[in-house]
């Protein structure tokens, strides 16, 4: 068995610990920046919805500021964001390289994308339902947590799935500029040293990650669709 694997992917088997470490790094980047982007994006999506015209906390100024800010960051290509955020990253994290250095640009690259999707998910909820909740005495917090978020579990799950998948893509790109992880592994060995099996195995690993996330996401979304 080991012989066979060694034949199939000699370069991976030669340094399996590097491969395993890159997977770990990717998961760490994914976990931290994913969790923070999820919370921030949720918050921003909710703010966009409740402050919009006719929202339960209507506020044109706040709405416009966040709307423009999100548009601004969404329009910057990730590779430019990586470079542009270096000073801020250094300030916040103490370094601009490695897994730690990737955190800030990943959050900036993901949050606006996710916030828009949360906004779209919440916008699907019928105004009449909000009104019924208001009429029954719900306050702003009740409307947000017991109506908006509760009623949109399925669509927010779908948005989260898409976002995590796109975040996996971003971590690979961040890897290419020194953040570590599977992207870094594939570039350094697969590309620069022409170890083709590394490229294939990395690709396969990423495909597997994406598939697992998609399956879990679909399952949760289906469970919550009424």
């Amino acid at each position: 068995m080991a012989d066979f694997l060694e034949k199939l992917m000699p370069n991976i088997m030669y340094k399996p610990e590097v491969y395993v470490r890159s997977i770990k790094e990717t998961l760490v980047m994914l976990g931290w920046s994913g969790a923070v982007s999820f919370l921030l994006g949720m918050f921003l999506g909710v703010v966009l919805i409740v402050t919009q015209r006719g929202g339960v906390m209507e506020n044109r100024a706040v709405n416009q500021v966040f709307d423009k800010l999100i548009n601004f960051f969404r329009s910057i290509p990730f590779i430019v964001l990586l470079a542009g955020l270096i000073p801020l990253t250094r300030l916040l994290m103490g370094t601009a390289i490695g897994v730690k250095g990737a955190f800030v640009p990943l959050v900036f690259g993901t949050t606006p994308f996710f916030a828009r999707q949360v906004e779209a998910a919440l916008a699907e909820i019928d105004k009449g339902v909000i009104e019924a909740a208001l009429a029954s005495g719900s306050g702003t917090a009740g409307i947000i947590f017991r109506v908006y978020l509760r009623e949109s579990i399925a669509s927010i799950t779908r948005a989260t799935t898409i976002t995590i998948i796109s975040l996996i893509g971003l971590t690979a790109m961040a890897g290419a500029v020194g953040a570590g992880g599977l992207g870094d592994f594939a570039i350094r060995y697969g590309h620069q040293r022409n170890q083709i099996d590394v490229t294939y195995v990395t690709t396969l690993t990423l495909v597997l990650m994406v598939s697992v996330i998609q399956v879990i996401g679909n399952f949760i979304a289906r469970k919550n669709t009424r």
């Binding site: 019928d126 009449g128 339902v129 009104e131 019924a132 909740a133 208001l134 009429a135 029954s136 005495g137 719900s138 306050g139 009740g142 017991r146 109506v147 509760r150 009623e151 579990i153 919550n224 009424r226």
Partner: protein, 344 residues
């Protein structure tokens, strides 16, 4: 119970300003079922939404159960809203919650524990006749069942008033009837004041004690249902009443010169109309016996409102002119208005 004083509401839209409600004053008594009728865009929904301040009036005051809602702070307003239930044309149930969870929604996070809230919700579901549906999601319920769940939810906090915005407009006639019956029942059993927004006079006729007619944001006519039906003051009110009768067809028949309306010299087409609450009497057979006139009924639309006959009848009456005159006089003495539509 619900009092509006000079309530106005104007919306600013791209097309300009829309005065949805103009200086409406209204007094809805405790235990009353009050209808608000008007054509689409008349401002009915806006008016009823002003009653629980889902829409804040630009001017005027709103009182519910003695408290001035328009003077309350956010927190107190939420408490005041709990004392009023509201149901809607589109039901507006929470799709992700079961029937039971929908009904329990207004209860949780309040004073009740989850167990107590569920028990109460179960009682309410049973009151609206849905004991067996507590685990069903709204998508698994029919329109009538959804509205019953919505009614149960609206009753969760033992409200003093129930606001119904076109609650039956999305339902078929039979389901409409059963929902109206339910509303009537909870008015009788729990003494809840009910405001019924509708564009169907039939609904007003079926359950309301009093009615307000709205046109272009104004309350143009208001009174108890019987007298509004018997003596409508505004043409829009007459239009609404006509939608519940076929009496107006006679005009069309006369215009097209239908053979029914080709009268002989000793015939007249008369319109009889009950205008006051009178005891039911066999008036038609009485006059034909007493005065020797023949009465051929063309159209009749008689209804019972608050235990008295109400409605109109159009007949060809034939006989000697003096006898017809005497019969008409007799009817008038019985508080039935008589109008000559066509002379032979």
């Amino acid at each position: 119970m619900i009092t509006l004083e000079h309530v106005s509401k104007t919306f600013r839209a791209q097309a300009g300003e829309i005065e949805a409600v103009k200086d409406v004053s209204l007094d809805i008594g405790q235990g009353e079922i009050h209808g608000v009728i008007g054509f689409s865009g008349a401002g009915k929904s806006t008016l009823v939404r002003c009653m629980n301040l889902l829409e804040r009036p630009d001017s005027g005051k709103v009182f519910v159960d003695g408290a001035e809602l328009t003077a309350l702070g956010k927190r107190e307003l939420r408490d005041a809203r709990r004392r009023m239930g509201m149901i809607f044309q589109q039901f507006n149930l929470f799709a992700s919650r079961t029937a039971l969870e929908n009904v329990a929604y207004p209860l949780r996070y309040g004073a009740l524990s989850k167990g107590a809230a569920d028990r109460k919700a179960r009682e309410l579901l049973s009151f609206v006749g849905l004991d067996d549906k507590e685990g069903a999601y709204p998508s698994q319920l029919s329109g009538g069942q959804k509205q019953r769940v919505a009614i149960a939810r609206a009753l969760a906090n033992d409200p003093v008033a129930l606001l119904c915005d076109e609650a039956t407009s999305a339902l078929d006639p039979q389901t409409t009837h059963s929902i109206l019956k339910l509303l009537k029942e909870l008015n009788a059993r729990l003494g809840i004041t009910i405001v019924v927004i509708t564009h169907e006079m039939q609904v007003v006729k079926e359950i309301c004690g009093r009615v307000t007619v709205m046109e272009n944001g104004e309350a143009v006519e208001s009174g108890d249902v019987f007298s509004v039906f018997a003596n409508p003051q505004k043409s829009i009110t007459r239009d609404f009443i006509d939608t519940t009768t076929n009496i107006s067809k006679i005009t069309a028949l006369i215009e097209e010169g239908h053979e029914l309306t080709a009268l002989k010299p000793d015939e007249r087409i008369l319109k009889f109309k009950y205008v006051e609450k009178t005891a039911a009497e066999a008036l038609v057979s009485t006059i034909s016996r007493r005065f020797g006139v023949d009465v051929n009924i063309l159209f009749a639309n008689l209804d019972w409102i608050e235990g008295a006959p109400l409605g109109e009848m159009i007949s060809v009456v034939s006989g000697r002119s003096a006898d017809i005159d005497a019969a008409m006089e007799f009817m008038r003495e019985r508080s039935v208005s008589v109008e000559v539509i066509l002379n032979g």
